[in-house]
Structure formats: C-alpha cells, structure tokens
C-alpha cells in the first residue's frame, strides 16, 4: 500500500520525462528536424495564405490576357492557361493539401482506433468479426475502393476525403489492435481491472496512452500517403475538381500544356514532394525516437 502511494504521485513527472527523452532523441536526428521545420513552414504558409492572397481575385479569377506567361518577377511561378498566378495557386494549395491530410487521417484514426480497441481489448468473437471485415477492406486496392465510395457519395471535397478516410480505417484498426494486444495482458491493466475500473476507462486512460507511439508514427506517414493519394485522384479527375487549386488537379490541367510550358508541371509537383517529404521525415524520426532499438 505504501509503495503504491509513493509510485502514484511520481507518475506525472515520469510521463513528462519520457516525452522529454523522446524529444531529446528526436532533436539529435538532423533529417527529422529538417522535416519538422519544413512541415511547420508549410503550416505557416497555409495559415497565412489567406492574409495576403484573396481567393476570389487572386487564386481562381481568370485573366485571359495574362495567360501562359513564364516565371517572371511579377509572376514568380508564371501564369496558367487561364492567366491565373501559379504562385498564388500553389501557395493556396498548401491549405487544401494539409487540410486533406489532417481531415482524412483524423476520421480514419478515430474510427480505426475505436474498431481496433474493441477488437484488441475484448478479443474472441468481437475481434474475429471486426478483423475479418477489416481484412476484406484491406484486400481491395485502396484507390479503387475510394473511387467507388466517391461514386456512391457524390463528388465534392468532403466526400472525396470521407472516401479516402473510409479506405484507411482498416489500417489504423490493425495497428491499434496489435498495440493493444501487446499491452492488454500486462499487470497494471490487471490491477486496474481489480480496482473495478470500467472497460472504457481502462482503454482510454491506461491502454491507449501506452500504445500511442506506433499510432503517432502511422498518423504522420498516412498523412503523407493521403496527400499523395488525393493528388493522384484529382489528377485523373476523380478527386478535387477545378478551379480549386489542389496540386493534383493543377497538374491535370497543366498536362495539356507541358510540351511548351513545362514550368506549369514543376511547381505543383515540387509542392507535393516537399509536403510529403516533410511528413515522411517526421514519421521516420519519430519511429527512431520512440524505439531507439529499431534504429540503424
């Protein structure tokens, strides 16, 4: 009894020091820090783009007399076939793409965690039924599943993102489930049960915080693949539609002009690469920081 009393108050302190240790290891990884800096600057660009760019007059308004100009001091990235400033569109596209990543992953994570937690914690029939359903979803090519769901929901930004989220739920469910199974049998869970703690509280308070590591890594990596995926869908005309300055749909429009105006292809492409790269670097860095044994 006395021992428990001494352990308990020290708990929050220990938690903080663990986070500190992770941050300490993360900070030493130069590539990961570069990724974080890159990501934060993209967030800054996305947040501030509304301040100095007006969506209606600078991002989507067509000025045919200024069409297809190569990059210059006036139009840093040139203008597209409707005379729109490519720089303004690429900058505004940061908003769209970051929103795409965050929104999709948040939904997939929430629902996936719920399924994964139920399956992992209760095991048995619940686990079997839920995971077999997840297996069915995992066996289908993700992109075509998303395309089919978009067909059912109808076009539009939110529907595309919902479709992408649904297609990603099984992957999160699987990760959360395996993380929970590895914790479920440990003694402190047994102790919590013995104290009469409700299942929901055990999952939320005791299991998930301890399983957070691999989940966070997957969140960053999935944000990267989601941004890639939505850009791809928009590129073939099944995702976010023009005139929204989504990088993939910008590339789709630029494709027609690439022979004589290749700069139209370069900037949105580089923007995609930078955002995906930053998230991949953060994900890799977090993985190494969370589990130093895995690092080579």
């Amino acid at each position: 009894m006395t021992e428990q009393a001494t352990v308990n108050p020290s708990n929050p302190v220990k938690k903080r020091s663990q986070l500190k240790a992770i941050w300490f290891r993360y900070r030493k990884n130069k590539l990961a820090m570069f990724g974080l800096a890159l990501f934060l600057s993209l967030v800054l660009v996305a947040a501030s783009s509304g301040l100095f760019l007006d969506y209606d007059t600078q991002v989507i308004e067509q000025r045919m007399r200024e069409r297809l100009q190569p990059p210059s001091s006036e139009h840093w990235f040139g203008t597209d076939q409707y005379g729109r400033d490519v720089f303004a569109r690429v900058v505004w596209g940061t908003r769209i793409s970051l929103f795409v990543g965050v929104f999709t992953v948040t939904i997939a994570l929430t629902v996936g965690t719920l399924f994964g937690a139920l399956a992992g914690y209760y095991g048995g029939t619940v686990d079997n039924v839920l995971m077999r359903i997840m297996d069915i979803f995992l066996a289908m090519p993700g992109t075509i599943l998303a395309v089919a769901i978009v067909g059912a929901l109808g076009p539009g930004l939110v529907n595309v993102l919902l479709a992408m989220a649904i297609a990603r739920i099984p992957q999160f469910a699987r990760i959360v489930r395996s993380a929970i199974i590895s914790i479920r049998g440990q003694e402190f869970i047994e102790a919590a049960k013995a104290c009469g703690t409700r299942d929901g509280r055990i999952i939320m308070r005791h299991i998930l915080p301890n399983a957070i590591g691999p989940i966070v890594v997957q969140v960053t990596l999935h944000m990267a693949t989601t941004i890639l995926g939505v850009a791809g869908l928009s590129f073939i005309g099944l995702g976010i539609e023009a005139p929204t300055p989504e990088w993939g749909s910008m590339l789709s429009e630029a494709k027609e002009w690439m022979r004589y105006h290749p700069y139209l292809m370069v900037f949105p492409g580089v923007a995609i690469i930078l955002s995906v790269l930053s998230l991949n670097l953060i994900g890799d860095g977090l993985r190494d920081a969370l589990d130093p044994r895995m690092k080579n």
Partner: protein, 310 residues
C-alpha cells in the same frame, strides 16, 4: 505444408465473397441507372424499363445479390453492362498489360533497390550511402504520376526516345514501369540496408571474416542470405499491389489495363465489371502473399522446421 496452403486458399473465399457484398452495397447506393447510361439520355423510357427488367435491376437487393452469388459459384460473373461482353473475358483480355507493367516495375525495383541497399550497408555513412538514402527518401515522396509525366517530358517530348502512350511495343512499358518502380525501389533499398546492417553485426559474420573469407564472400554468402528474408516480404507486398493495377499510372500512359477497367466500371455504374475486377485483383494479391509465405519455407530452414513439427 500442403494442408497449410489449402487452408490459406480456403480462407480467401470469405474475403472474396465479402468484397462482392461490400461492392454490391456501394454500387447499390451509387446514384444513376446503368440501363439509362447505356441507352443514352434520350432513349425511350420503355426501352430503359425493358433493359432494367432483363438485367433484373427491379428486384429487391437480397434477391439480386443472392442471384449474383449463385451464378458466381457456377463461374458465371455476369456480363458487363457497358459492353455486354462476359466480364471474365474482358478481364482476361485487359490483364496482360497490367501484368507486364507490374512485372517490369518489380524487376526494375529489385535490380536497383537490393544492390544499392547492400552497398549502402557495407559502406555505411559513406558518400554512396548518403546519396542512395537521400534518393530513396525522395522517391518515397514523389507522386508516381508526376514522375511519369516528367519521364514523358524528358524521354518522349524532348529526346523522342520512348512512346508516351499506348502499349504497342515493349518500349511502351518502360516509362510506366519506371514510374511505378521508384517507390518500391526506395522501400527495398531502405529495407535491404537496415536488415543488412543488423546481420553484419552478428557474431557469425565476425567469425567468417576471422577465418579469412573475402569481404565479397562474407557479404554475398553469409550476410545477404540472412538479410534477404524481410526483403522478400517487401517484394511480395509490392508485387501484389502492383498486380492490382494502378488506375493513375494507367491513365497517364494510356494503358487499358485492370486499373482503367475498374475506373470505367465505377464511372458507368457497371457493377458486374467492377465487382469481378476487384475480386480478381484481391485474389491475385492473396495468391502472391501466399506464394511469398511458401517461398519463406524454402529460403529459411527455421521456418521450414516449424511446418515439419506442426
């Protein structure tokens, strides 16, 4: 071993049936009438109704799904609503293009990814290692379709070396395969490097070196064989995904493979076509996974002994 393979094959059946059910539901929720879209906007209502009756679209969901399953068990997956050709025939005629691209892509990825990974591990922290890791990182972040467009720009429009669309000659498959290979290559390089690094530190490698075996022999004979296992998994998963067809790359290069077939099926609400092609893709993916697991038992005696015991 045989029992294991049969069991795995049997386990695929519920997955395939589940896919058909889920897609049946999704397509049922999708607005639009396939009969109307085949006959056109200005077709007579009577004709549309007659076609709906012929396809049995007016029956309740359970009846339609039950009928679909019953004929699917007999090997009849229906005819495409759009072309009126049996869907199986359509898939068979479209699949070679997808298979060629996928095979070429995985060969590209292996031919470059694995050796580069080995060199990176052996010369850890060298310039080569740094360069190849940076390239791998870049390749995991590049959208394949953008890479494809850049290849078209360089090799078709500027240098005029390769055709930009179609599947007329073997040359047509080089660029789509390269575009798809990049990401796989990156994963393989990183995987090979990290498993090689793990193996190189083992005692038996030091022993082999101490015996005076050449560096080349130690790396290729002692280290690589043990490091290759996780790489085989990566190759298998990648190949399984590629064989499912890439809608986007097929779109970029105008290849009418499995991916294009699926997208068109969704667009025209062609349920029989969509369900059959997705089931096919899942089946191929499942078989490749199974093949990898069986291959494991040949590469790794430790895994083999488990089966002998069990």
């Amino acid at each position: 071993m045989l029992r294991y393979v049969v069991k795995r094959l049997l386990l695929m059946i519920p997955v395939i049936v589940g896919i058909s059910f889920i897609l049946f539901v999704i397509m049922d929720l999708t607005p639009g009438d396939p009969a109307r879209s085949l006959l056109g906007e200005y077709a007579r209502q009577e004709d549309v109704d007659a076609l709906r009756e012929e396809w049995g679209l007016n029956d309740p969901f359970a009846v339609r799904y039950g009928r679909y399953l019953a004929s699917a068990i007999r090997g009849d997956f229906g005819k495409s609503y759009r072309t009126n050709i049996p869907v199986v025939q359509e898939i068979i005629s479209r699949y070679p293009a997808t298979m060629k691209v996928a095979t070429l892509a995985i060969l590209f990825a292996m031919a470059i990814g694995i050796p580069v990974g080995i060199i990176s591990a052996v010369k850890q922290y060298s310039l080569v290692d740094f360069g190849s890791m940076a390239t791998a990182l870049l390749f995991t972040s590049v959208p394949p379709f953008w890479l494809g467009l850049m290849l078209i720009l360089i090799f078709s429009l500027m240098l005029r070396l390769l055709p930009s669309v179609g599947t007329d000659s073997w040359k047509s498959f080089i660029m789509p395969a390269a575009a798809l290979a990049a990401a796989q290559m990156a994963t393989m390089t990183r995987m090979t490097r990290s498993t090689m690094l793990e193996v190189i530190r083992q005692d038996y490698i030091r022993t082999a070196k101490a015996k005076g075996a050449s560096q080349r022999y130690v790396v290729l004979k002692h280290a690589l064989r043990n490091a290759l296992l996780p790489v085989v998994t990566v190759v298998g998963i990648g190949f399984g995904n590629l064989l499912g067809g890439s809608l986007i790359i097929e779109n970029v290069f105008g290849i009418s493979g499995l991916g294009t077939l699926m997208v068109n099926a969704v667009k025209s609400k062609d349920s029989p076509m969509l369900i059959a092609s997705v089931m096919f893709a899942a089946l191929v993916g499942g078989l490749v996974n199974l093949a990898v697991d069986v291959l494991y038992t040949y590469i790794d005696p430790r895994v083999r002994s488990q089966y002998v015991k069990g």
